[in-house]
Amino acid sequence: MTHTPLTQSLTRPASFTGATTDAFLDVRNLSVKFPTDDGLVSAVNGMDFALERGQTLGIVGESGSGKSVTSQALMGLLKGTSAQVTGQAMFQGKDLVSLPESAMRQLRGRNIGMIFQDPLSALHPFYTVGHQIAEAYLVHNKASKKQARAAAVDMLGRVGIPSPVQRFDEYPHHFSGGMRQRAMIAMALICEPELLIADEPTTALDVTVQAQILDLMSELQQETNSALILITHDLGVVAEVCDDVLVMYGGQCVESGPVDAIFYDTQHPYTLGLLNSMPTLNSSASQLNPIPGQPPSLLDLPKGCIFSARCQYAELAGDSVCAKQRPELTVEEGHGKRCHLSGPQLTTIRTSR
């Protein structure tokens, strides 16, 4: 598949720390904690990132690294639950964290759209696909049902669903997986939101359909010049569509930067592990290289580097600093890393693997 980078629409490169306050989306020190019977679960711990219109930010990490929780916090979907969301997320001059639910509801769907992982469970089984899309249009637009229907049919056509007039009146269970995700995208985009959050949009789809969906999202993003946050664990997807990447581990950003820097100038052992664990065409199944160990318990995060327990290079930093002290996110030329190892050390590790 081909992908045209969307750099032509960039006004300014994304920056991850020390961002200018007038960024389109500016997230500062975002944390999410869930009180449970066993204690406080720290799902997201101090995330900082910024995003401009027309750009795509990929958030990558294992299951349980806090990717989805981050997106739900931005969408305000955690409001009204027991989750404790702190920090700041400035979007169009409003702080999404402190915004009351009623005001947040005005933004949802209209200014921020969201695409979910499994389109079958994310679509309501009892309403027609068209009805659900038109409903999204009607919430934020003063329009008649007829106008909403026309808008929904138009949108179904734009996302590549054949004979949209007929498909409008069909139910989600009549659609194939790829078609459902197209419908989901149509629903998220019908009000042309400036920010689109896609939470593993291709994970539930088979590989040939994945590429089509990614192409479609890129196309529509270019048309509307919206900002896209793509949450995924698939580094292949990231390489295809993202401008910038943020690697999450244990609810923290461990590495961030432009996509090329992340792939070709990797600065964190965890990112290296992720890249290494990707199977290639000329490796057999027995040659898979997983990262040993398990992600840390979010109930009781280690005092030192969150990744130190699984990091095979921790002793290189010396003085067991990795186990004792949590590294800060250091940024050089837009490339941030949260690691005690020095740049030359990491370069040696990367080239010797």
Partner: protein
């Protein structure tokens, strides 16, 4: 459905044949000579072989037929369900007389327990974990363990005997459209309604609560919120419609059962409905009456099940035939 009814009627008929009571002896009364018992048996048609009796009986469901001893036959008009062994009254008339009482009692109780059960269950689900939720769940546990005789007698004692707020149930009112008007109808049946509602709404609360909590955790609810829909739309349009199907199933079952006669409730409140009539008929070995009420109850259960299926199709498009 027709097959099911035929099977139910056949089994009921057979059970009575095997039963220990002799309707002929009962019908001819005390101080009865064996000759008169034999006459009574012929008059009731019980001298005939089992299958002949059964087929005769079933014929009456489709047309009028002659009934009684040869030479002394009377016409039993369609729908002929036989004549009571006790009073020689047409069974269809007995049922026609009892049915309005049962309907009166069922309909109010049904409305009352559906509203309280689903309403409180939904409230508990929306406030999951809160004191409101805990109170409702606790109340439901108490309600489900209160049998009708306890609540019924307690309500009668409190509202009729002590507070004199409500009249004791009377046989004169069996419809809101009667001469006494709907107010009197409600007052007359309010206590049985409450007694039934306390018992039934408890299980509706629990089923509604569990299902709604599950439904509110579904992905499509998150999608609905992500669209920016109002909380009310999310709860009712997207939530309740998806989570209500088990309640519909329960409701269908309960409607069927209740129309077959709420035996205990009718006894306690002296409502001469189907359940009341059935108990008396069964005790006195009045085969045609018991038989008819059993079949009617089965019919109601079957109809209710068909209605549930139709309701399912209305709620869930995946169930609809293409």
């Amino acid at each position: 459905m027709v097959l099911l009814l035929a099977a139910v009627s056949f089994i009921t008929f057979m059970l009575f044949q095997l039963g220990p009571s002799d309707p002929a002896a009962a019908a001819c009364g005390q101080e009865c000579t064996p000759e008169r018992v034999a006459e009574a048996r012929v008059a009731l048609g019980m001298d005939q072989p089992f299958f002949v009796q059964y087929i005769d009986y079933m014929r009456g469901l489709f047309s009028s037929r002659m009934i009684g001893a040869p030479g002394a036959q009377t016409l039993c008009e369609w729908p002929c369900l036989g004549k009571s062994f006790q009073t020689n009254e047409n069974v269809a008339d007995i049922i026609g007389r009892s049915l309005p009482y049962t309907f009166s009692m069922a309909i109010g109780a049904l409305v009352l327990w559906t509203i309280t059960g689903v309403g409180l269950g939904l409230l508990a689900a929306l406030r999951k974990g809160s004191p409101v939720d805990k109170f409702i769940v606790g109340a439901a546990s108490v309600g489900v363990s209160l049998p009708i005789p306890v609540t019924g007698l307690f309500l009668l004692l409190l509202f009729v005997n002590q507070l004199h707020l409500l009249p004791f149930t009377t046989n004169e009112i069996n419809s809101p459209f009667g001469p006494q008007g709907p107010g009197a109808w409600v007052a007359n049946y309010l206590l049985p309604w409450i007694a039934l509602a306390v018992l039934f709404s408890a299980s509706y609360i629990r089923v509604t609560r569990t299902n709604m909590i599950d439904t509110f955790g579904e992905d499509f609810i998150r999608t609905a919120r992500a669209k920016g829909l109002a909380p009310r739309t999310v709860t009712f349009k997207h939530g309740v419609r998806a989570g209500i199907t088990p309640v519909v199933t329960m409701l269908g079952m309960d409607i069927g059962l209740l129309l077959g006669g709420a035996v205990l409730t009718e006894q306690i409140f002296s409502v001469p409905g189907l359940g009341f009539t059935a108990v008396h008929a069964a005790i006195s070995g009045d085969l045609p009456v018991t038989m008819a009420i059993t079949m009617l109850a089965a019919f109601f259960v079957i109809v209710a099940n068909v209605l549930v299926d139709l309701a399912y199709a209305a709620i869930d498009p995946r169930v609809r035939l293409q």
